[in-house]
């Protein structure tokens, strides 16, 4: 070949040309990523390890130290003196653990309080009507027979359940299956790391593209959130004995319940049926090597379970980003 011949007969020229190309490439290749990306990525990295972001003062010191050049930096590191950052380093490092523990405790306490508060709401809403009867006068039968749609009329007020009709379903219990679907999806998001989007809207779009189930879960959350808030509000109000058991939202417009129930039923229809299978599969593959994952994905495809295979493939890519990627199912 020509290059080989060149290499044998004249070694210097191609190497010089190669060095020249490298020099020219370095001169022409000057693009840098935008600063906003840098901030987002570094923040995400810190979030991942649970570290606090560096203060602007520390960042300025960092810039000073980085401008000193490698020999000076190594000298500073070795001597442990010089830049303030280096002096503060051990102190910060010593405080990191207690601060982390304190933060975890505070977060846990907040979470427990939040859960107990929401759990209390649910118990109150789903539980037997007897305790509520203490607060509210007996209801006329017409009130119990009221249609679910009319429950959410504006102007509806306090929670009241007739003791004579304990079997009458509360709105929670009588809620469409979509409500159950929504709560299931609320629990569905897997491990905290993956459930935290940290980039802008673009990334959310990508996430939604990659995992259709997530968008359903997000819709379910959006639907569930106002409902839960409205429940808390209605619990807080005194019972007046009006003929409207458990109104979801006193301020909600007339169209809201219909739209909500429609959206809830839609989200229930769109709920991926592969979820239980997927979780079982992922549990099986939890500690398996990438090869096993690939084999399993291929098996699933052969069995015609494309949706499940794609779900597992997405998880595979997340866990093993450095592995050669498998092509998605056609």
């Amino acid at each position: 070949m020509t290059l080989n011949e060149q290499g044998q007969s004249g070694q210097a020229a191609p190497e010089e040309r190669e060095a020249e190309l490298a020099r020219l490439y370095r001169a022409g290749s000057v693009e840098e990523p935008p600063a906003h990306l840098e901030a987002a990525i570094l923040a995400a990295a810190r979030r991942e390890v649970g570290a606090a972001p560096r203060s602007p003062a520390l960042q300025a010191e960092d810039r000073v130290v980085s401008s000193l050049g490698a020999p000076a930096r190594s000298t500073l590191r070795a001597s442990g003196s010089g830049a303030p950052r280096l002096r503060l380093g051990p102190t910060l490092r010593a405080c990191r653990l207690p601060l982390s523990i304190a933060a975890v405790i505070v977060l846990s306490a907040s979470l427990v309080m939040l859960m107990s508060e929401e759990g209390g709401d649910r118990v109150a809403a789903v539980g037997p009507a007897a305790p509520l009867a203490d607060r509210a006068p007996p209801q006329p039968p017409a009130a119990v027979a009221m249609s679910p749609g009319s429950r959410d009329q504006p102007g509806g007020q306090a929670v009241a359940q007739a003791p004579e009709v304990p079997a009458a379903p509360t709105p929670r219990a009588a809620a469409p299956p979509a409500r159950a679907g929504a709560s299931r999806e609320e629990e569905a998001p897997a491990p905290g790391r993956t459930a935290v989007p940290f980039f802008g809207p673009g990334n959310e779009r990508r996430e939604a593209d990659d995992a259709p189930g997530r968008s359903t879960a997000a819709e379910a959350k959006l639907e569930a959130a106002p409902i839960a808030r409205a429940d808390r509000r209605s619990e807080a109000r005194p019972a007046t004995g009006e003929a409207q058991p458990l109104p979801r939202s006193a301020e909600a417009p007339v169209e809201a319940p219909r739209a909500r129930s429609k959206a809830a039923s839609l989200s229930a229809e769109r709920a991926p049926p592969v979820e239980p299978q997927k979780s079982v599969l992922l549990r099986e593959l939890e500690r398996e090597p990438p090869e096993k994952w690939r084999r399993r994905i291929e098996e699933l495809r052969e069995q015609g379970e494309q949706a499940l295979a794609d779900e597992v493939l997405a998880e595979f890519k997340r866990r093993f980003p450095d592995q050669p990627s498998l092509s998605p199912a056609r």
């Binding site: 020229a13 190309l21 290749s29």
Partner: protein, 176 residues
């Protein structure tokens, strides 16, 4: 990366500052669209962050990082139905036989360095994707042929051949 895996966020800062430019330009040279490049660039680092807990030393970190970038690019092309597979096929070997002997053609000193650099960047953009990838990995990440092979998931011979073709094309283009 091991430090970052063990919870040292500062180690990630260092890794990021060391490799941000190279990775960004690597994806930019491939997709040639700054917006897409930014998106892919974010994804590469996101994947790295997510893979933190399971990170184990299997290769040089640079190779690992560019492997993530390579995989993300492949995913991007697949998702957008670009016929990259065809462009990643092996190149026409007979091209080399027709290459001029650049020893007889010294570089044109009349062109200033900037224009030459611009010319080179245009030539890099015109390279077939696999050759461009090999060349950019060599230039941006300082990778050897073996490392390029590892990062792109091909054999050493294939990587070597791609790099050689890329250099030959660029030399020829600069001489024209």
């Amino acid at each position: 990366m091991l430090l970052y895996r063990d919870g040292d966020a500062g180690a990630f800062d260092l890794l990021y500052r060391r490799h941000r430019g190279g990775v960004y330009r690597y994806v930019l040279r491939h997709c040639r669209d700054a917006a897409v490049a930014e998106e892919l660039f974010q994804d590469v680092w996101t994947n790295l962050i997510r893979a933190r807990a399971g990170y184990a030393v299997t290769a040089k970190f640079t190779t690992y990082l560019y492997r993530l970038a390579h995989n993300r690019l492949i995913d991007h092309y697949r998702k957008h139905s670009r016929a990259i597979a065809a462009s990643f096929d092996d190149e026409d070997c007979e091209e080399l036989a027709n290459l001029p002997d650049e020893r007889e053609r010294p570089p044109d000193d009349a062109l200033d360095a900037r224009r030459q650099a611009e010319r080179l960047m245009a030539l890099v953009a015109e390279l077939p994707a696999p050759q461009r990838e090999a060349f950019v990995l060599q230039q941006e990440a300082g990778m050897t042929v073996e490392e390029i092979a590892q990062a792109t998931g091909v054999s050493r011979e294939t990587a070597k051949s791609r790099l050689r073709y890329a250099l030959a094309r660029l030399r020829r283009g600069m001489d024209e």
